[in-house]
Symmetry: C2
Subunit: 354 residues, 2 copies
Amino acid sequence: MSSDRLLDDFNAGKSAALARVVSIVENHRDGFEAILGGLHSQTGRARRIGLTGPPGAGKSTITALLVKNFRDAGLKVGVIAVDPTSPFTGGALLGDRVRMENVALDPGVFIRSMATRGSLGGLAAATREVADVLDAFGFDRLLIETVGVGQSELDVARTADSTALILVPESGDSIQTLKAGVMEVADIFVVNKADRPGADRLRNDVELMLGLRKGVSFGSVPAHHGVDLKRMNPARLAREAAAAENPATWTPPVLSAVATKQEGISEMVAALDRHFAYLEQTGTLHARRRERMRERVTDVVERKVRDRLWKDSHTIAWLDEQLPSLEEGRSTPFAVADQLLRQSGELVRGEERQ
Amino acid sequence: MSSDRLLDDFNAGKSAALARVVSIVENHRDGFEAILGGLHSQTGRARRIGLTGPPGAGKSTITALLVKNFRDAGLKVGVIAVDPTSPFTGGALLGDRVRMENVALDPGVFIRSMATRGSLGGLAAATREVADVLDAFGFDRLLIETVGVGQSELDVARTADSTALILVPESGDSIQTLKAGVMEVADIFVVNKADRPGADRLRNDVELMLGLRKGVSFGSVPAHHGVDLKRMNPARLAREAAAAENPATWTPPVLSAVATKQEGISEMVAALDRHFAYLEQTGTLHARRRERMRERVTDVVERKVRDRLWKDSHTIAWLDEQLPSLEEGRSTPFAVADQLLRQSGELVRGEERQ
């Protein structure tokens, strides 16, 4: 099928064309840049929602329920799963698989799992590009599911307009480990499995941490405190008062859910809507999307440089010749890199080798 | 302190100089390339051992025990923790912290935790550079601890000569999720907390998976089988026979440990020694280290390109000017990237702007 014909079918809303375009883009097959360039002007309409959290937090179940909720509202939904523990990517229990099949048969839903390795240009760059394809196809909501542990996964979460962090009581201690980056990225916190022991404590811990994030110190208050402290948490009260008065401040809500009982999902959808309204009203949406556009360009620039340098047989052969002197300590990686770049200006510019 | 004086102190084995050099290199402070270049000829002596696995697998406890074992053998040990859940990086229980302090007071041990974000050039690149510093300082063993979940973390594991994957019975189901990349990277498997229920099943699953990895199919054998199957596992028997006859084949051993009782550590050290001997005898060590050298150069080249492009105020200003037309769909990230590169040849070459 010609590229033009493929794009015609894509623009006519044909699912088979969508699946093919996503595959071409995800795997960087020939012509993917022309396709993405052709779709570019149609992007920017979908709301991109990131879902992140530790393995076992119930991200996939919540994703499935959000899909159902959005579908009931007449919205078309694309799902990108970059979570190796997600049933969408194959790390599934049978029960989850079966549950997702109902969703998968709906033509208003498109689910794509992304490999978490092999994307030399970076997982976040690949996710941004596949999201652009789904956006251009006309999906109203994009759900991007990622496991909130590694650096690449955090970068993926940052590609969304709104990011929800899903936690469970069992992940109590791991909150300490998440805070390094994931806490800052989250616009909405969801304590899933909220009917289990430890849910209140987890909610308290998160709220306390959000208070600390605002620079309010609690002195010697121990990390694990009773429920009473929550009520008298001055940071929380101050934030709630500020939020009520000033819509320009976003207070990340800490929601509860029991996804297996379908509880808490409509509250989550409402919070996502509130956050999107906040993003729009304050100009934050425009700023975030402009930043995303800049990242799209830098992604492409860096990928082109890598392709032009490392797919050039002369450069590779030259580098091979330098390895013995590097191994023997007669040269250094820096000297070799400098020389390589001195002789690569035309290559990087995209010009033919003379 | 001048750079020369710092290197003199470093070469004289002064710990304070080591700590300063590591900081300069890790944070890419002024002069870090000159320092790394100066140390380059002294690298290649330390054995680099990667320790990876899911959070809670006991990686840090095993790291501490390995440190003790190596110290008892008179070896100097450097530890690089790139695991946000590691006590070395601050995600600690008090008990772990206290346990590590004994180790930290020993001048024959150097412990460094690396931030898991902010290293634009990539965590693996930064780890390779810090490891080079420790190698040049004269440490005999480098232990590189990383959480085996994300892509960056996997890349870090690949920087080692030998990599051990630590699993626990609790991580049983997650073996499915690990296999995508971590299984392939591991030279040694350690089932920690081997006195807990499920340890035998986990060991069986790993061995079965290793058998499958060799391309032997088990037909309809279910994933969770009885212990008897292990005994009649044809792939395992075939691999063991092959390993006994042919030292050129490495069979990843599946070891057991109860780190909290200090059990299984000497077996792990012995397996690491066997693996290193295998690497040396088969020429694999030289091949792996040559590959690492090539990666060092490509790391530096790509970082230099990024620095030269994205720290150039003219380029940034020009890119800013393109954002409106990108947002309005009049231009595409690919067209902008192409133009940016066409005008950046001299910049990438490292020449002064005219």
